[in-house]
Symmetry: C2
Subunit: 350 residues, 2 copies
């Protein structure tokens, strides 16, 4: 196309996991929380009145940012930024802190969006292979770049690199470190304080997973105020709808609900992991709400994926290097996981 930017010629838009429509589906492909959001969140959305819909929302989401600061132990809203889902915040970090042609560091395999965001910005993604345990290598620590996307836990492995590795990386890396903690509520520990400790770190979170609010698009991040000020420059003026701000506030008001759901997901994750290993899969230790089930037998992973799909069980298959022999499986409800495991036993004749 004549008007196309050169840098977009070979870029596909990010292709999200499919949202299939057939009924009674067991949907274990996009890492949604299987449990509902807090009733307080549902109520907050229901309570939105004519005026909240009619008027512009708070352009700087002050109430939500203040609540997030209080909740996560930051001095005030000037340390917090909120976004229309965490994806928007990842994109904002690129636009606020990197120039075209800059090197953007991340690891492989990881969230595909990091590379896409770099390409869309005309920057140069540098992906350093993780080791066989999906941990960071020395090469990663030694690579210079303007910005690094460092997910913990990572997807699709589910693995959380040791916290001290993130600490060490923030110390040695000359650029900005985006610590992507989208899945961290399912882990044992977090780097939530790192934006206080390091002036080159932005810690990012989402309400899509642990808070069961993917439909409401609430992402947030913590960073030193001068970094937050730069992010605010590049954000859309009214990036958070009245509904998203209200839902986010309500969610913080019922953290017990979220934590009870997390406990259930973690228990199911342990059982799922054990059963998969029993069936012959290799499963890296997941600190997320999904597991990577690696498989070298017959039928191959892709065939298993397709056989599951025929049974209306949808998991994620990545047709990519190091992932051809694996399925990423979201931790669903116990009953969904029972259905999955029964189907796997059937497919594998076990």
């Amino acid at each position: 196309m004549m008007r196309q930017r050169k840098i977009l010629q070979n870029v596909e838009g990010y292709v999200p996991g499919e949202q299939p429509k057939f009924p009674n589906i067991v949907k274990l492909n996009t890492n949604e929380n299987p449990y509902p959001p807090s009733p307080k969140v549902v109520e907050a959305v229901r309570r939105l009145n004519e005026n909240a819909i009619r008027k512009y929302p708070d352009t700087v989401s002050l109430e939500l940012r203040s609540a997030l600061a209080a909740h996560y132990g930051y001095p005030g809203p000037e340390w917090v930024v909120v976004s229309n889902g965490m994806d928007e915040l990842l994109a904002m970090a690129m636009r606020a802190f990197t120039d075209p042609n800059d090197k953007i560091l991340s690891c492989y395999p990881t969230y595909i969006l990091y590379e896409k965001l770099a390409l869309l910005h005309g920057a140069r993604p540098v992906l350093i292979d993780l080791d066989d345990d999906f941990l960071l290598t020395e090469q990663f620590f030694e690579t210079a770049a303007r910005l690094c996307f460092l997910p913990r836990p990572n997807s699709p492995s589910g693995v959380a690199v040791p916290q001290q590795d993130v600490d060490r990386f923030c110390r040695v890396f000359d650029g900005l470190v985006v610590i992507d903690e989208a899945y961290v509520d399912f882990s044992d520990d977090s780097c939530i304080d790192f934006a206080k400790k390091f002036d080159n770190a932005i810690v990012m979170r989402t309400m899509s997973k642990s808070f069961s609010m993917a439909g409401m698009r609430v992402g947030f991040g913590f960073a030193q105020p001068d970094l937050v000020a730069e992010l605010m420059k590049v954000k859309d003026s009214y990036n958070m709808s009245a509904a998203s701000q209200a839902a986010g506030l309500a969610a913080l008001d019922d953290k017990d609900w979220m934590e009870a759901n997390i406990a259930k997901v973690r228990a199911t994750r342990a059982r799922l992991t054990d059963e998969l290993i029993r069936l012959g899969f290799a499963v890296p230790p997941s600190r997320s709400n999904f597991v990577l089930a690696q498989w070298n037998g017959t039928p191959n992973a892709r065939n298993i994926f397709e056989s599951l799909r025929e049974r209306a069980i949808v998991v994620r298959y990545f047709n990519a290097w190091r992932l051809e022999n694996a399925l990423r499986i979201t931790v669903g409800t116990d009953s969904e996981i029972d259905t999955l495991l029964a189907a796997l036993r059937e497919i594998l004749n076990k």
Copy 2:
């Protein structure tokens, strides 16, 4: 700050019109619709259930785009793009179709965001002065650029350039034309078909003004499918929340409601314009839901702005060339406008 991009050094974030908090305010500064959204919209938001909140929304907003295509006479959803408010769509057009250092054309005075978006992208804004009637000059037609933001009606003048000028511009301009129709529902005619007629035009709309839905962030645009495909590449994966998609769909289902509100706003606009002229203001013919009240007397416009503010009546004052002697006044309810006019008579001793 060490990590700052050079291009952001002199960029302020867009400063939106203030959202003052004092009670009983007459708020005529951010062009919100004074009338409530359709009860169907409120109901659609209330009906959002746990699952809509829990799960990812449709990443490509297919149902909403299809409804928009049907509603506005386009062949199908591949001609339509939706966005988290129209501001996001303006930014997406920059990212999809312009490279850093490209020239970006617009007029002056106009929506301040166009220039900011160009600067944030590292592009070069070229603003051509409008004539004394806020219409396009020959120089505008003769200026080459990669992309042009052409608002109709324009803000803060409220003036809609003749439709045939937009037609002529699309024919002679070599770049992409973003026809910003944010306010067009308050006008007598629109360029809604121009994306069918011209392969270099994107027609953009918003539900913030005419549909009384600024809080829900629903923008949309029409363009040839190859242009839409490029816009989809640069959009956030899940840019439209479940709430925004549901509200947008419901709004289309009750266009009568919106049109009844528009009729009221237009009637009030006529009365406001007449009264302002009677008081000695010069008012360009507005096709929007606001008017630009130009004033060369004593006290000056800024003092009038401040005196109004002391009376809890907030209008918009732009401290900028050609606008120092003017107030932009949103068309509120009849009673709000009566309050404004009474205050103006008092301030001006008339």
